[in-house]
């Protein structure tokens, strides 16, 4: 009667898996605080429950294992045994064994062929040791230790095998070895006594029961609800486009509109799940990995309650796992190396998630050795990804992007943990497949930060519908900065540049353009050079304009009809287009508009990549007519409130803006100002210089110099902007002046150059 039980078994599996995750967390917490009776009681209860349930279903191996575990925990609880590395190691091994039995049950309905009696005996043996006798390192104890460690090691390499979507039951079960040698991955030494790892406080999980405030809902049911909401949104759009004066109809339509919006927002929330779902396993992963690599790692997790669409959460698990493994295996140095370099013995690894302008950002940050940019440069050349000349001219940021190319591993040794060179490109592919981006920042000797941006949800988004050669396309509104007409006017807004590299001047910036009609092959030659609409978009660090049909072409040549717009805003339901078309890299999906027409959604990132548009650095060169070497000699001179005259390199400046102090918001330690779609961190120039000034009243205006650093854009608040001047000589480096990197002669005056690397933003302290 296995089929009758199947439903109950499935529930048992789901609950037990959750319980095991909790067990992992509890064990980690217990390691940090061995005396915590609550933790111990919780662990005991969990194991007891598993034992009881396995008896109910007749899972004898599981029951026996849980029984041995319960016995060991009982002795701990009664104080007859003290918690040491051997005991915790054994308990972790038990947890892994239980997990693999559960996998087997899920896959085959049976517990599998593996024999866990040796593990049972080990648990009994460890339980039988009195607390005082732990230093009697007799051979059987030493062997069981190394078995425990190797089991941990093997479970690490096997369980987190990169991107294996199918986990065969057999591959996850740890083999009880005859000799311990075959389990050790190449080049790793396993000590007989487990080195002490100082785990930082793992992600906080409330011990209280959420049972009363949550319900379990079948995933398919939720999907149906969302589909229906999507259809309602479409119908609402159609209703909105009906022309009527009838007040009764208008009133109802308005009400339907309001309710639909609210329903849509709420429905989308049901898909949201905290990233803790993925993060919760990592403390254990890091611990095991650190042990097997012989490193010491202090791991901190921040923002685990940040929410993300359920369907995206699973997609980030593998990429994040890979990044974390990279950080521990390659990023963080061995304790000896670190001490020799004047660093703390334990490396710091931080995992952070936070919301940022309509998307979720996840950061994996380590303070390890960083990535050697020059080695990446060499490797890029030797792999034929760039010529030596081109590679030499690329800035460090761009060079690091090569790491995402397939087969590009600069790891010295390929360990079984990572370094096969298949990692980073798969990470990027997987993240981009869900509409996200990944960027990498590194400072040699100081550490590496990998930042993953993921959209909150893919289901419903505001979009701009544009026309092109009789077809319609959707552009995600979040990426659109503005719309401009293409017209020759005295004020300028004309298309310049070479035919194959058109650009347009927008408020002093030169923006590269893509003519959508010729790019997509809809017209042999673009019809939009004289009359079109430019959709200015920003994607990652690229800003460019997509030229689509202008109003005149859309309205069919009747120039005086301004009523018909070149582009219209619409909230669309994103539908997948299938693997075949997604492979083109041009479209992220399609949608059905209110009139029933199917419209493709343009993949802006793919478009910019295929059109090979230059990133922003080149734009700065275009801006000045001088050769690249001279562009760096221009400085923006400002005065701070404390009266300091400072210079900022013009190359780093992207915009000058003005804000009222009331618009500045505070989030934790940071001050932010809202610009367009996102928030930009704000730093007072005086604060950087270490000057003390009184805070400004809310009605005061502040001049903001928006600069671009490797952490994104920052705003530097100054009192007045004075001038843009050319340096008369190269800047001289200044040391030991707070907030100043050098002095430069401008218009005969020695002016201090502001330090734009903002401290406190770089790293996240645990």
């Amino acid at each position: 009667m296995v089929t009758d039980n199947r439903e109950f078994i499935d529930e048992f599996l789901v609950e037990s898996t959750e319980n095991l995750d909790q067990l992992d967390r509890d064990l980690l917490a217990l390691e940090a605080e061995p005396g915590d009776p609550q933790r111990l009681a919780s662990i005991f209860r969990t194991v007891h429950t598993i034992k009881g349930n396995s008896g109910f279903f007749g899972f004898s191996k599981l029951g026996a294992l849980a029984h041995s575990g319960e016995h060991l925990l009982g002795r701990l609880r009664d104080g007859k045994l003290s918690l040491d590395d051997r005991v915790t190691g054994t308990l972790y091994t038990m947890v892994d064994a239980v997990r693999s039995i559960l996998h087997s049950i899920e896959a085959t309905g049976t517990e599998g062929d593996h024999d866990y009696r040796d593990l049972g005996r080990l648990l009994a043996a460890v339980a039988a040791e009195e607390a005082a006798e732990k230093e009697a390192a007799d051979s059987s104890v030493a062997e069981s230790q190394s078995i425990a460690v190797s089991k941990v090691v093997e479970s690490v390499t096997v369980e987190t095998a990169p991107f294996s979507s199918e986990r065969e039951a057999s591959s996850v079960e740890p083999a009880v070895p005859d000799s311990t040698t075959q389990l050790q991955p190449a080049g790793l030494a396993v000590n007989a006594v487990l080195p002490s790892v100082t785990p930082a406080a793992p992600s906080v999980v409330a011990g209280g029961s959420l049972a009363e405030s949550t319900v379990r809902v079948d995933v398919d049911l939720l999907a149906s609800v969302l589909d229906l909401v999507g259809e309602l949104v479409l119908a609402r759009n159609q209703l909105r486009s009906i022309d009527t004066e009838d007040p009764a109809v208008l009133a109802v339509a308005q009400r339907i509109n309001t309710v639909t919006n609210a329903l849509q927002e709420t429905a989308v929330k049901t898909r949201m799940q905290p990233v803790d779902h993925v993060f919760s396993r990592f403390p254990r992963t890091v611990r095991d990995l650190a042990v097997s690599c012989g490193k010491e790692v202090q791991f901190s997790v921040d923002g685990a309650d940040t929410e993300l669409d359920r369907t995206l959460i699973e997609s980030i698990r593998d990429p994040l796992t890979h990044l974390i493994r990279n950080a521990v295996d390659h990023g963080i140095e061995s304790p000896e190396t670190r001490l020799a370099a004047g660093k703390t013995r334990a490396g710091r690894l931080s995992l952070r998630a936070f919301n940022e302008s309509g998307r979720v950002t996840i950061e994996v940050s380590d303070d390890g050795g960083g990535i050697d940019v020059e080695r990446v440069r060499e490797k890029a050349v030797s792999r034929g990804l760039a010529t030596a000349a081109d590679a030499a001219a690329l800035p460090a940021e761009r060079v690091l992007q090569f790491i995402f190319e397939p087969g590009f591993s600069t790891a010295q040794a390929v360990t079984s943990v990572s370094g096969r060179g298949v990692g980073m490109d798969v990470v990027r592919t997987n993240i981009e497949a869900i509409g996200g981006t990944v960027e990498i920042h590194s400072r040699s000797g100081l550490g590496t930060t990998v930042r993953v941006h993921v959209p909150l949800t893919l289901a419903i988004m505001p979009a701009l519908i544009v026309h092109c050669a009789g077809e319609r396309f959707a552009v995600p509104q979040a990426a659109v900065n503005e719309l401009l007409p293409v017209r020759r006017t005295a004020a300028g807004s004309l298309i310049e540049g070479l035919p194959h590299a058109p650009v347009m001047r927008v408020r002093g910036r030169l923006v590269p353009l893509v003519f959508l009609d010729s790019f997509l092959g809809l017209r042999a030659e673009t019809a939009c050079r004289e009359d079109g609409t430019v959709v200015l978009v920003r994607v990652d660090d690229r800003e460019f304009g997509i030229v689509v049909d202008g109003t005149r072409s859309v309205s069919g040549g009747r120039g005086c009809r301004d009523l018909l717009e070149a582009a219209s805003l619409s909230t669309i339901v994103v539908k997948p287009i299938g693997g075949l078309l997604a492979a083109l890299g041009l479209y992220t999906g399609a949608t059905v508009l209110g009139d029933g027409g199917v419209v493709l959604i343009v993949d802006l990132r793919g478009l910019s990549r295929i059109a090979d548009l230059p990133p922003i650095e080149k734009e700065v060169e275009l801006l000045s007519d001088a050769t690249p070497a001279e562009a760096g000699d221009r400085f923006l001179v400002c005065r701070t409130r404390a009266g300091r005259r400072i210079a900022l390199p013009l190359a780093a400046v992207t915009r000058l803006e003005k804000y009222c102090m009331a618009e500045v918001q505070t989030a934790g330690q940071r001050r932010l100002v809202r610009r367009g779609d996102g928030f930009t961190p704000l730093h007072d120039a005086d604060a950087i210089l270490g000057e003390v000034v009184l805070p400004l009243p809310p009605d005061a205006t502040v001049n903001l110099v928006v600069v671009r650093g490797d952490q994104g854009e920052h705003g530097i608040a100054v009192e007045t902007i004075l001038d843009v001047l050319c340096a008369e000589a190269p800047p001289q480096v200044a040391l030991a002046v707070i907030g100043v990197v050098g002095t430069v002669a401008l218009a005969g005056l020695a002016t201090e150059v502001l330090d734009l690397t903002i401290p406190g933003v770089q790293s996240v302290s645990a």
Partner: protein, 160 residues
């Protein structure tokens, strides 16, 4: 009655030849209706249809199957569920649903298999039915698409 495994197959005509897909994957049969063009898609992709809230890419199998299409005439889209996606196949004419016992299915010749897209052949009374593996067909198209898109300048200066 034999105890052999029997599957139901939906047969249809493309050009002069007769093909079939397992009826288990067939969602619906639609009249040829307006499709939304997909610029720069592979040659076999005719466009997008919309069925019950889902976007259905419609493909033309003539090139993959190596048959010559009969010109003009009303055509039909055979909508199939393959993995997570729905795809439409442009066919000339829908024929019967037939039952084929497993042991009566013969292996195609290496050339005849068209890269494993034709997975088997069944000799019916008056015609030869080529049994298709539609998932394989989509795989072949995907490979063509990625190859096409990956070449530098391939989308513009390619061989179309």
């Amino acid at each position: 009655m034999s105890s052999s495994i029997v599957h139901r197959w939906c047969t249809f005509r493309v050009g002069d030849a007769c093909f079939a897909v397992d009826s288990a994957v067939v969602i619906e049969v639609l009249r040829d209706r307006g499709l939304t063009q997909v610029p720069l898609a592979a040659r076999g992709v005719l466009g997008l249809a919309h069925l019950r809230g889902r976007i259905v890419p419609v493909v033309d199998p003539v090139e993959i199957l190596g048959v010559a299409r009969r010109p003009a005439g009303p055509r039909t889209h055979l909508v199939m569920s393959l993995g997570d996606d729905w795809y439409g196949l442009l066919v000339d004419e829908m024929l019967d649903v037939i039952e084929i016992p497993l042991e009566r299915i013969e292996q195609p010749t290496p050339a005849g298999s068209r890269g494993d897209v034709v997975a088997g052949i069944f000799a019916a009374e008056n015609r030869l039915v080529h049994l298709l593996d539609p998932e394989r067909m989509i795989q072949v198209l995907v490979r063509q698409a990625t190859h096409h898109a990956g070449r530098p300048g391939g989308l513009h200066g390619g061989d179309d």
